[in-house]
């Protein structure tokens, strides 16, 4: 009797979680897949949306741009995060703590506020742009924030704190003895970094890369605040199908979302494969 009552209670305790997950995670996910293959307006099975996505220049461009900006900003972000984390690892605890606080503070600075900050810095009448014009610094005067290349700088900005915070702990995995061993075997610091340290850190670096990649692929606020719908990026093209002045096409939006989801899953799979291949210290 008591066992039965307990059993009922377990189910009752699990209920809120499963209701939330079912209503807002599982069902929406299934619905995206179903609607991606439905005709516009509902019903029927069709591959038209995917044919349109991969054959229309507008959408090809948005996939290409999204991939390009995500990969490029993640690579640059990883590079800066690596040298930053390395320097912080060698620095005194006091400097390291200050640096970590700066990272923590700025990691909250993203989305619309970040877009605005770059607008007053490098926008059409931005501070640096004006200084560039007044003093004849061509690079600053002609910087165009409102293009995909201009946008890239803001993406790199929000990758750095996240990347460095993720990379900092992995440097404690490097042992001092390794460096000494390389020295004893007649190697220099180039050998140490490129033959020992980086290969052993590679799995963690790849893991960080995939987080940064997903982070910028899904980023929306910064691009939307700077260029609203006038830029070909996947998240922008997706949201356009649901809100805004353009003719809305829900099923097509779902198909675009499925493509974006596929890109995320593929990036995780590739990273996992590379991680296994490289082995590393773990």
């Amino acid at each position: 009797m008591k066992a039965k009552k307990n059993y009922k209670f377990y189910l009752f305790a699990l209920l809120p979680f499963f209701i939330i997950v079912l209503l807002f995670e599982i069902l929406p996910l299934i619905n995206i897949v179903i609607e991606s293959f439905s005709k516009t307006g509902g019903g029927g099975f069709t591959l038209d949306h995917f044919v349109k996505i991969f054959s229309t220049r507008l959408y090809q461009q948005s996939i290409y741009n999204s991939l390009w900006i995500s990969i490029f900003s993640a690579v640059v972000g990883i590079f800066i995060a690596f040298i930053g984390a390395k320097a912080a690892h060698n620095a005194s605890p006091k400097i390291r703590n200050t640096f970590t606080s700066v990272l923590n503070i700025t990691s909250n600075f993203a989305g619309v506020p970040l877009a605005f900050a770059f607008m007053i810095l490098l926008g059409n009448v931005g501070i640096l742009t004006l200084i560039g014009k007044n003093y004849g610094i061509e690079f600053l005067a002609n910087y165009d924030l409102y293009t995909i290349n201009g946008l890239l700088l803001t993406y790199i900005y929000f990758q750095i704190p996240l990347g460095t915070l993720l990379m900092l702990p992995i440097f404690s995995g490097l042992r001092k003895e390794w460096k000494e061993a390389v020295g004893l075997l007649g190697g220099n610091s180039f050998h140490y970094w490129f033959k020992v340290a980086i290969p052993s850190l590679l799995p963690s670096i790849l893991g960080t890369f995939s987080v940064l990649f997903a982070n910028s692929l899904a980023a929306y606020g910064t691009a939307y605040a700077l260029l609203s719908n006038n830029i070909s990026l996947l998240p922008i093209r997706i949201s356009q199908q649901f809100v805004g002045e353009v003719v809305q096409n829900q099923e097509f939006g779902c198909a675009l979302s499925l493509v974006m989801m596929a890109l995320m899953v593929i990036s995780v799979l590739i990273t996992n494969k590379l991680q296994k291949k490289s082995g590393g210290v773990q």
Partner: protein, 266 residues
């Protein structure tokens, strides 16, 4: 040689920190000066702050942001605590599957989650198409992975089974023991997990913009609408939002540090 590398490392850290701080610092300076046409701004003023802080529409949007971030955090944390209660005490095998469910949101970040929810529920009858209801649900899913991991790590650090068994021997029911002994012990972990989740939702723009849009103006939406009107007002809003987040995350760090030293003492 060593001094040289130290100097070099110091320079790197300084350059990175400067790059990260400059946009933030300039946004602040921009909000307290009337004009900025050359290297230095001119006309110091706090009028933009007084204007925005006396603007009822902004205060309302800020309150909306606080409430809409706080409610999902409570719902999600409570649901996960209940699940952890069942999995740690009775069904440890279930935890694996719960963890998978909690990691799915990583793949359906931001815009995808919003698309899934809108396309499923918009136009449906009754409370299901209520935009606020959908927003709360979406927010619960966004913070699900982080809340689950945070709470699981906290509960993992305690010896739940032993404590609950001891309480049972002393004549206390399991449920009562869980809520009156285990949860109070987890207090710091719960609070810091909730605060982290809160700051994530507080900064959200994409989901609220797609699900509720201008129908539910949070501070993020208000900022977006102000941007095209007044630069200085927008920067004042950003500073206010930033300070709010900063206070919350500093408190979180303090609580976490306190928890660490406490654990160290024991």
């Amino acid at each position: 040689m060593k001094l040289k590398t130290q100097l070099w490392d110091g320079c790197i850290l300084f350059i990175i920190a400067a790059f990260l701080i400059i946009p933030l610092a300039l946004t602040f300076l921009y909000s307290v000066f009337t004009a900025w046409m050359d290297i230095l701004p001119t006309g110091f003023t706090l009028s933009f702050y007084s204007e925005i802080l006396t603007d009822g529409a902004f205060i309302n949007s800020l309150l909306r942001s606080l409430v809409i971030s706080f409610v999902p955090v409570c719902i999600c944390s409570l649901a996960i605590l209940l699940v952890l209660y069942v999995t740690t005490l009775y069904m440890p095998k279930l935890e694996k599957y719960i963890e998978i469910l909690c990691n799915i949101p990583y793949a359906i970040q931001g815009v995808i989650l919003a698309v899934g929810i809108i396309s499923l529920y918009s136009g449906k009858p009754g409370f299901l198409s209520n935009r606020l209801f959908l927003l709360v649900g979406a927010y619960c899913i966004i913070i699900l992975p982080y809340t689950f991991r945070g709470l699981k790590n906290t509960i993992g650090a305690l010896n739940v089974k032993c404590v609950v068994e001891a309480a049972q021997v002393l004549g206390c029911s399991q449920l009562h023991a869980f809520f009156s002994i285990i949860i109070p012990q987890m207090k710091n972990g719960i609070i810091s997990t909730m605060m982290l989740a809160f700051t994530m939702l507080f900064a959200d723009f994409v989901v609220v913009n797609m699900i509720a849009g201008s129908a539910f103006r949070t501070a993020g939406i208000y900022l977006y609408q102000t941007m095209s009107k007044s630069g200085q007002l927008s920067s004042a809003i950003i500073v206010i939002l930033f300070i709010t987040t900063f206070i919350i995350s500093t408190l979180t760090l303090m609580i976490q540090n306190k928890a660490v030293t406490k654990r160290g003492k024991n």
